[in-house]
Amino acid sequence: MRSMAIDRRTLLKAGAAGAFSLFIPIVGRADMCPAYVATRREADGSFAAIVIDDAGEVLFQEALDGRGHDIALSPDRSLAVFFARRPGYFALVVDLEGRQRKLAFTPPPGKHFFGHGFFSPDGRLLYATESGGEDETGLIGIYDVAAGFIRIGAHATRGLDPHEALLLPGGRTVVVANGGMQTHPDDERLVLNLATMEPSLSYIDLATGDLVAQVSLAADLHQVSLRHMGIDMSGAVWIGGQYQGPPTDEVPLVVRHRLGQDLMPISAPAKVYASLRQYVGSVSANADGSLIATTSPRGGVVIEWNAQTGAVVSERTLTDVCGVAPEGDGFLVSDGQGQLTEEDGLLRTYPQTAWDNHLRKV
């Protein structure tokens, strides 16, 4: 099968050259190149890292020791790091070119991953959100890729419960969402500090670890746990929250932020926020950053927002939908029923399986 493994960039180059592609047997859109990565629960209850092509065809998969969450892709798209879901105790590195597992690594003793991370622009370092230890300080662990992903240090996130972290355009600053939920060390789903939680968004200098800026929501919204993010065409960060207060409260769950300004809750018709059921599971920008999609598995909805105006562009219902990534001008979404769905309809179903919370475009 190695000979079939045509690297995506090679193919693109070939396509640009305008000749070689004629000799590649392409059936429909199934170009057999890695296009998306995600983790999934298989029909037998096991968990797997999955690599699919544009048509949703599984190109290859690797078993995971437990449930996965998000994936970090190296800048050259040769490596994908599949993180365990929080509290995560492993990460699996997959070689997308060789189409096989490369290695697995773990956080240091006493610490755990939160399921999210990203590569440095030069691809030499991997960063992962972590916490652990007595004070439960949020950290971004730094791992040396060439050395086999050994941990060489960490930056403080200046908050509890760091979740997703994204590199800003320019590649020098990372924005991290501190979810603010203090959870039981043995049961990471039991929230122990509902009355006092202080979620925040921290901007951290990647080189020095210095805090560049930190913002929080108004005090009356302190139970909106800031967790997932996407970056629009203007560089603004869109954050999806999970509200820990009463289900009857009307709370803005989608918030936008530009450095130097306050966090700005996006106003939307009450029905739109109500349909999210106080829970945003994933956030993504489309390819050109003109649209932002927020998904809610609890509400079973995908909401698309105009990144410039903040207006709701579309609402779709889809049971247990969560994973979202750019596709064409819009988005591809995945759900807990094994489905991959495009803007104009179902792309592919894998019965008896369940796609995990996140989907990443290679």
């Binding site: 879901r85 039991l190 122990l192």
Partner: protein, 427 residues
């Protein structure tokens, strides 16, 4: 909003990060359940279908036997249909009528008595009156512990839950703030109206426990004017909150209307199943909390590792009584909800137990816990150091874990109340 734990998952994939953990590990070992998927991973419940059973029957020869088998299967599994909206509705209605309203009514009765007893102590301080106030406190704690995991509706608005009971408090915020109120003689804490606007940590059960049982409490008997007036304000505040919650449950047009009338325009419940899920969630959250936080916080893997000062209500010596009342309250919820009757209509899926079997297993576990509490425990500090008592407390954690599993996995699955794969807190 099922907050179920993935610790089984964690033990499968990683070394323990140290600390805690032992209770869960013992439970898994004892029940041999390590291979079972944790409930949040479990597959959506699919009702058993007759055709899948008959399809495996040998079709060649001995037709008579086959026919007999098929007929017996038809008789054995007549109720393969889904749980009906009416059944969900009955669970919700029964819970409102038989658990939420009467239990919060009972709490309001006790808070009223407490406020009166505390007023009596301040009016004419004496050792006997302080004892009476302590006794009233214990009764409120008992009534509260029976509803502690009913964390929905009127309980969780306006920070009522946290204001009534601020625990766990891992940083000791409540103690520090309560001591400061007393040291500063902060008069705003002596009026229940202004007290209600202060930190949630200085206006509830934990503050009152310190006032009545903490350092300097003995002065109440001979007349500590400020401490007593602060205590009285706390008791009035507790009474106000209890009555607000009760009024909320009794208001036909308020939260119960949402529970009774699910639909597309309902802000909380789209269908009957979601409302019923909130009922079962009280049970799953409750047992998870009892095992991992209430007991797990102080017990430790061995007597040497126990930390009794991390237990809830150690100052008043009511740690075990409160946990006993937690179990008793959840049992009242289980029985009052009529969930067992609905479960009994659910047939077994493949080799797993059916609803009737699960219901009787749940009853069995409740009785086990009751029996253990009935034998009594030594005082907390002694009990955790005594290997035999430590084992008994570990057993209670196992019972809580079993009940959690029965509700979160078996009962939820049989009733068709699984959460979506991607809908967990914090993911």
């Amino acid at each position: 909003m099922l907050t179920v734990l993935p610790s089984v998952l964690r033990t499968l994939v990683s070394p323990s990060p140290g600390g805690g953990g032992s209770i869960g590990a013992r439970e898994r070992g004892d029940r041999g359940g390590a291979a079972a998927p944790p409930p949040n991973e479990a597959r959506p419940f699919t009702p058993p279908r007759l055709r899948s059973a008959t399809a495996t029957l040998p079709l060649q020869g001995r037709v008579g036997v086959c026919v007999a088998l098929i007929i017996s299967l038809l008789i054995a599994a007549p109720a393969a249909a889904d749980t009906t909206p009416e059944q969900y509705r009955s669970i919700v209605e029964n819970t409102i009528t038989n658990y939420l309203r009467p239990e919060f009514q009972a709490l309001a009765v006790e808070t009223k008595a407490l406020a009166e007893t505390m007023g009596g102590l301040c009016e004419a301080p004496s050792a006997a009156r302080q004892d009476a106030a302590k006794e009233s406190f214990s009764k409120v704690l008992q009534a509260w512990s029976r509803v502690e995991y009913a964390r929905l509706g009127p309980v969780i608005v306006e920070k009522r839950l946290e204001r009534f009971s601020f625990w766990p408090d891992r940083k000791g915020t409540g103690l520090r703030q309560t001591q400061k109120v007393i040291a500063d003689k902060d008069e705003t804490a002596t009026d229940p109206v202004t007290l209600a606007d202060k930190s949630v940590a200085v206006q509830g059960l934990q503050a009152l426990e310190f006032i009545l049982f903490g350092n300097g409490a003995e002065a109440l008997a001979s007349g500590d004017d400020f401490r007593c007036r602060y205590g009285e304000a706390v008791t009035k505040n507790l009474d106000t909150i209890a009555n607000e919650i009760l009024a909320g449950w009794n208001d036909e047009a308020s939260y119960v209307a949402l529970m009774r009338k699910p639909g597309p325009d309902n802000a909380v419940y789209r269908n009957e199943g979601e409302a019923a899920n909130d009922i079962i969630e009280m049970l799953t959250t409750g047992f998870q909390f009892i095992r991992d936080v209430k007991i797990g916080n102080f017990l430790g893997a061995t007597p040497e590792k126990a930390k009794p000062r991390q237990a809830a209500f150690w100052r008043s010596g009511k740690t075990f009584a409160a946990i006993d009342a937690n179990f008793a309250g959840l049992k009242a919820l289980w029985e009052g909800s009529g969930m067992a009757a609905v479960l009994e209509t659910r047939p077994a899926a493949s080799e797993q137990a059916g609803g009737a079997g699960i219901a009787s297993s749940i009853d069995f576990e409740f009785v086990g816990a009751e029996r253990d509490f009935a034998k009594g425990f030594k005082p907390l500090e002694e009990a955790v150091k005594d290997p035999a008592e430590h084992n008994r407390l570990g057993y209670l954690a196992i019972v809580a874990g079993s009940l959690w599993r029965f509700f979160a996995e078996d009962a939820s699955g049989l009733l068709g109340l699984r959460m979506g794969f991607n809908a967990l807190d914090g993911d």
